[in-house]
Subunit: 756 residues, 2 copies
């Protein structure tokens, strides 16, 4: 019986609903100290003095740690996946409000909280820059010199570059865009902006460091145990196997819990204190640790009279904040899909990662794609409307079809862009004209569609261990952060071994014993780890068959494992260990042209259709229907796929309608969930979540990832529907009632007064 | 450079001397309860009532648990490796003083200690039997019916046997012993006794049970994590993978920490309380949990006039105490070597495992061999002396030589009995007559030699994981209990992979992730796990070579692993996992005749030579020189081999000279280390510890085990030396000054009065 394709309940559900699921926030160790971080109050400044005397004198304080203490253990205390630019604690300078400057350690977390207020820091403020387009002019420079990390060899050419905020300029050129634009009759150009947004995990960042006889263990809420191990080992100058990273379940990750967040700080604090140390960030602190990239996107298209997009020019400025984190990869990996899911002969892309004095930005669900789709799907809609072509028809004319080359030169395979588009149109009854309504409320509909490439080339390793009674243990470093990977992987192993998924026990990431995986991110787990688990299970199956042969059991007969073990070892004893590494083939984009013949193992496709009404008196919108359609190949667990589509779409809604980190001179003015509005249960409209019938031929069991696809196009579909309803075009997110009203008044030539 | 054969320092030494080594006695969990056991005060009785009211009412007590509570979770709460005869807590009856009857759980261990005194148990006492020879008459029967466990299929014929204390009668017959004895001129017969002794671990038994979302974890000081997992899973009716056993370093094991000790009780308590539970036995409690087998050995030999042993008859009564534990295996596995390392044509062995009302006895260093060697090497010496043949010469005439069949019919291979004997003689300057001394002090010397077969057939599995920087993690379920296995296995893996053993990190037993191993016992680890680690390292090496090929590196070149990984994965990523299972070939002894063509993968040989003086006025002896010689094949770490020889010999000395658990009507009267005397540093004589130059051809790197060999022959060598010095023969251990004096007075016909 196939275990793949069934909507079995999540394997971790019982532990969660009974309160027995393990999270690091619950985790304590004997003799543990709690750390509280003092954060910078200025956006750019030189630290003149740090006076820790009062904090140290506070009753119950164990110690106060600053960069000078850290540098006794880590002489060069800078980390980062792309650039080694982020200090564990501020060294001499601060680069953004909220940067970690000092830490109080105490046995009681409330004591640490109180004492941290007693630290006095004197800053000499420096000029700061916050806007990405402004910063790209390099008039105010954040860092004196670029420090690429060397992990990504394609950044080597940036080593030592001075006086620039441009951390990376990804360029792609295909065909002759300049010529095409010069020859074009119809050229459209628009600029869109995407604001700073937070990846709201209900479990904030939390890490416990534990000095051990044989090294250091970090118990941490991370999506990347294997990377954390590597980076901490590098910082400490230790071999990998002296650093152990344990990750239980996460209360959400959404990309924010990638790379190093609290781990470097906690690691060093534990080594300094020679005791276990825990730091648990507050909800407020999350806003200062990592955010989504704000971005400005100038997009220009040349279109034929018949409505074919001939050429497209994209210029994207990504606001990376004060430290690069994985930003350069966002600007590159997303950058090359900036021209969208369209078959365009002449393409030019410039995608800039820009340093500013905002808190750092990095990976958040979608990894830059929502920023791009917001722009290119708004732009596409404007063109279609302007040319009087139905937006669905316009897209049908221009989308990339099977076998056609993407802008990078990679031929599209198993990318059901057409099917996703058709399904949205069908579900929207697109052919039937919409009753627009009368009076103050106007109805409209809009669609959007986006694509994303997978993160590549990355390896995943799995171990499938069959015990003597036939029960199975699966060891892997994939993190279940709510997306259901434990369940999916149980199904994958069970399918190969022809057992019930319930007999598969998952060993959660523990880098001493669960093998390497680059990380749980970029919707890569189902594809990459799914393959590794499948192959490891096949390896185990083969070894079990060999054991049966050793035991003298006739070949081809299907003995239960318990009988094979008993026969071979004379008692219930032994086990069989299957292992496998999976890495897809990949051809990295050429550094000069951005071209690649095989840029991704698969394409994720996600689209949305929105039917809404706008209250023209208040600017409020009410969504009647939100259709979310993806191509995720063949779902391994259809119900989990539906919840992933739903979750991503809801996050997309928040991003479209309300989420906006407000800053004022680098200060965040709404750093709390009271002021920063995410979608609540009453904000969620009627939704339909659909995975089209598709097969990812090179995927495990025909599957590919689905964690992000449904977030891509919600915002432009809404903006397009608003335009359809009331004929105004919004180019900035979020689409608040105020923004709608303001746009409407501008259109009607009666702007809102600021004091209205 | 070879890593095998080098005396590198122990890999865990630094953790131990800095106090950072992990032991379960230190281990605590949040919300943990401490359990204190109420133990039976009678040796055999029916439980009429258990009044727990006062204990329950004691302030701070969480609960009081008796068998009836346990049976709600485990309806048939009996465990044991050979027989399912031992209840988790006494059900209706008690069978020995110290049997666990009830448990108090409290958050404070001192509260539990105090409250346990308040439990009132009323017993109806039943007749009890303590002596093994007496018990074999079956006049008083301990258990109504035998309950073989079924794990050992060769015990099946005992199922349901009633009214007997004989748990197992191992019989071996070779040639025509009856005919040979009838025809013999010279027949010698003696009976020897070996007392109850304790395996003194400085870390007493300790277990922490932790209910988890996905099952139950036991953190326990056990030599057998894989067995504990199986047995707890069986008791609970769970699959193996729901039970996780974690074992850090042990503070000694010596065989006592095998099978189930506190684990079943703690497992069930944790499930009842739904909280973590810890029970740490006191030193006193160790005496009631498991002891070494007391034994009575009647040995009879027919000897030719020239001094060849023609026939031998052995009858061994093993006092198994009230529960079988592994006793039946002791009587069988040791039983078949009861005729010693001698080439004897006609052999008859009866080896009886007997139930009595003493605390249970089981595996202790040597697994029955010291009891046998005590008898057969005393007996051998008596014969030689009686016949006027030099004891070394007598043995030379009779020992088993390479290729000759052992009593079981197995041909001896790689058993350097002759070399061990010659080395002892050389080291003792045996050819030079000893100056006997005059006056009250007399000098003598003696030797002894013994053999032991390995525990078979048993499997060991290992995982060798190479990280992207070349550092190595070795996962295995071998327990380092002070014998140095972590170091040995690091050397084995390092040798194959051509790295420094320091780069190998050992993952201590954790049955979720470290693979199956039958247990750390019977000196089996170096041979069995040594092979598994070697083979797993070879597997990893091959996979690394394949990775190099995938990466396009030229074949045959010796790239460092870090370069191979970086080349293959484009960054520091991935790992390589080698695995292997090792199980030696083995032919179990025939149930009827006890014969086997291949009874053991290797033979362990150990001998001792003693040069001592006896004070004829006080009975005190002073050992001038103790020579310990073993064949352990080729040592992997010569220094660790020497410390193993030394440690075993010191334990043998204690066993010979002072260790004796005194009982009176089943009550132990010296259950403390103040009254039960083990060797202290000032008791240890000048020793020389030698491993003869040898190769175990089928062993890993030519090695075999050495944990027990040097314990075998210390006692008979001392007794033989005393006979040599003062002409008295001691047949009971320990050889206390009182025993010597009493024997001397008897010889001189002036017995000591009891009130002297």
């Amino acid at each position: 019986m196939n275990q793949v394709g069934r909507s079995i309940p999540r394997v971790e559900a019982r532990a969660k609903v009974t309160g027995r699921a393990e999270y690091i926030h619950h985790f304590t160790l004997p003799h543990m100290l709690y750390g509280k971080v003092l954060r910078s109050t200025v956006a750019h400044g030189r630290i003149k003095t740090i006076d820790t005397a009062a904090a140290k004198a506070h009753s119950g304080v164990h110690s106060v740690v600053t960069a000078s203490d850290i540098m006794k253990i880590v002489p060069h205390p800078y980390y980062g996946p792309a650039f080694h630019d982020q200090p564990i604690l501020a060294v001499d300078k601060v680069f953004h409000v909220g940067q970690a400057v000092a830490v109080v350690l105490a046995e009681d977390p409330h004591v640490a909280d109180a004492a941290v207020q007693l630290i006095e820091v004197e800053y000499e403020e420096l000029p700061a820059v916050f806007d990405e387009v402004e910063a790209a002019k390099n008039e105010i420079v954040v860092h004196d010199e670029l420090k690429p990390a060397g992990t990504f060899t394609d950044l080597k050419h940036l080593v030592g570059r001075k006086n620039t905020n441009i951390a990376l300029d990804f360029q792609l050129k295909r065909g002759d865009p300049d010529g095409a634009f010069a020859a074009a009759n119809r050229v459209f150009e628009h600029t869109f902006r995407f604001p700073t947004q937070l990846a709201v995990s209900f479990e904030p960042f939390v890490t416990v460091g534990e000095p051990r006889a044989d090294g250091l263990t970090l118990h941490t809420a991370s999506q990347m145990p294997s990377f954390v191990r590597l980076e901490i080992a590098r910082l400490l100058g230790w071999p990998e196997n002296k650093v152990r990273i344990r990750v239980p379940l996460l209360g959400g990750g959404f990309g924010a819990k990638t790379y190093i967040k609290l781990e470097a700080l906690v690691a060093v604090l534990a080594l300094i204190a020679k005791r276990p140390v825990k730091i648990a960030a507050t909800m407020e602190e999350q806003f200062y640790i990592i955010n989504n990239h704000p971005a400005t996107f100038r997009i220009k298209s040349a279109v034929s009279d018949s409505g074919r997009v001939i050429a497209r020019e994209c210029e994207v400025w990504w606001n990376g904040g004060a430290f690069a984190d994985i930003g350069p990869r966002v600007s590159q990996k997303s950058g090359f899909t900036a021209s969208g899911p369209y078959d365009i002969e002449h393409v030019k892309i410039d995608s800039y990662e820009i340093y500013t004095n905002l808190p750092p930005t990095g990976a958040v669900r979608g990894f830059g794609i929502p920023q791009l789709v917001w722009a290119y799907e708004s732009h596409t809609d404007i063109i279609a409307r302007d040319m009087g072509i139905d937006p669905v028809e316009f897209r049908r004319m221009n989308i990339l079809r099977e076998g056609r080359p993407h802008a990078t030169g990679t031929d599209m395979r198993d990318a059901a862009i057409d099917k996703v588009l058709d399904t949205i149109a069908d579900e929207m009854n697109w052919k039937i004209p919409l009753a627009r309504g009368e009076g103050k409320t106007r109805r409209g509909r809009g669609i959007g569609i986006g694509i994303k490439a997978s993160i590549s080339p990355t390896a995943s390793v799995a171990i499938v261990n069959i015990s003597a009674d036939g029960s199975i243990t699966l060891s892997m470093s994939t993190v279940d952060m709510g997306q259901g990977s434990d369940t999916i992987m149980s199904q994958a192993a069970a399918d190969v071994l022809d057992v019930d998924p319930g007999v598969v026990k998952i060993v959660h990431p523990d880098t001493d014993v669960t093998p390497f995986d680059v990380g749980t991110l970029g919707s890569r787990s189902t594809f990459h780890m799914g393959h590794a688990v499948r192959l490891a299970a096949i390896d185990a199956k083969k070894k079990l068959e060999a054991l049966a042969e050793e035991a003298g059991l006739p070949k081809g007969t299907n003995y239960p494992p318990s009988e094979i073990f008993k026969k071979r070892y004379g008692m219930q004893a032994g086990n069989v260990i299957g292992t496998a590494t999976y890495m897809p083939t990949y051809v990295p984009p050429d550094k000069e042209t951005g071209m690649s013949s095989d840029v991704t193992p698969n394409w994720m496709i996600g689209g949305a259709g929105v039917d809404l009404e706008v209250d023209t008196e208040t600017g409020h919108i009410r969504i009647h229907k939100l259709i979310n359609v993806v191509d995720c190949g063949t779902p391994i667990n259809p119900e989990i796929v539906r919840t992933q589509i739903s979750g991503a779409a809801i996050m997309g809604l928040g991003s479209a309608l309300s989420e906006d980190v407000h800053t004022d001179g680098g200060q965040i003015t709404n750093a709390s969930l009271a002021d920063y509005k995410i979608m609540g249960i009453h904000d969620i409209p009627a939704m339909k979540n659909i995975a089209v019938d598709a097969v990812q031929k090179n995927g495990p069991f025909g599957a590919k990832g689905v964690g992000e696809s449904a977030i891509f196009a919600v915002a432009p579909a809404i903006a397009n529907a608003i335009d359809d309803a009331i004929g105004v075009r919004l180019t900035h997110l979020p689409i608040t009632p105020e923004a709608v009203l303001r746009a409407l008044r501008i259109k009607e030539n009666r702007p809102i007064e600021d004091d209205e």
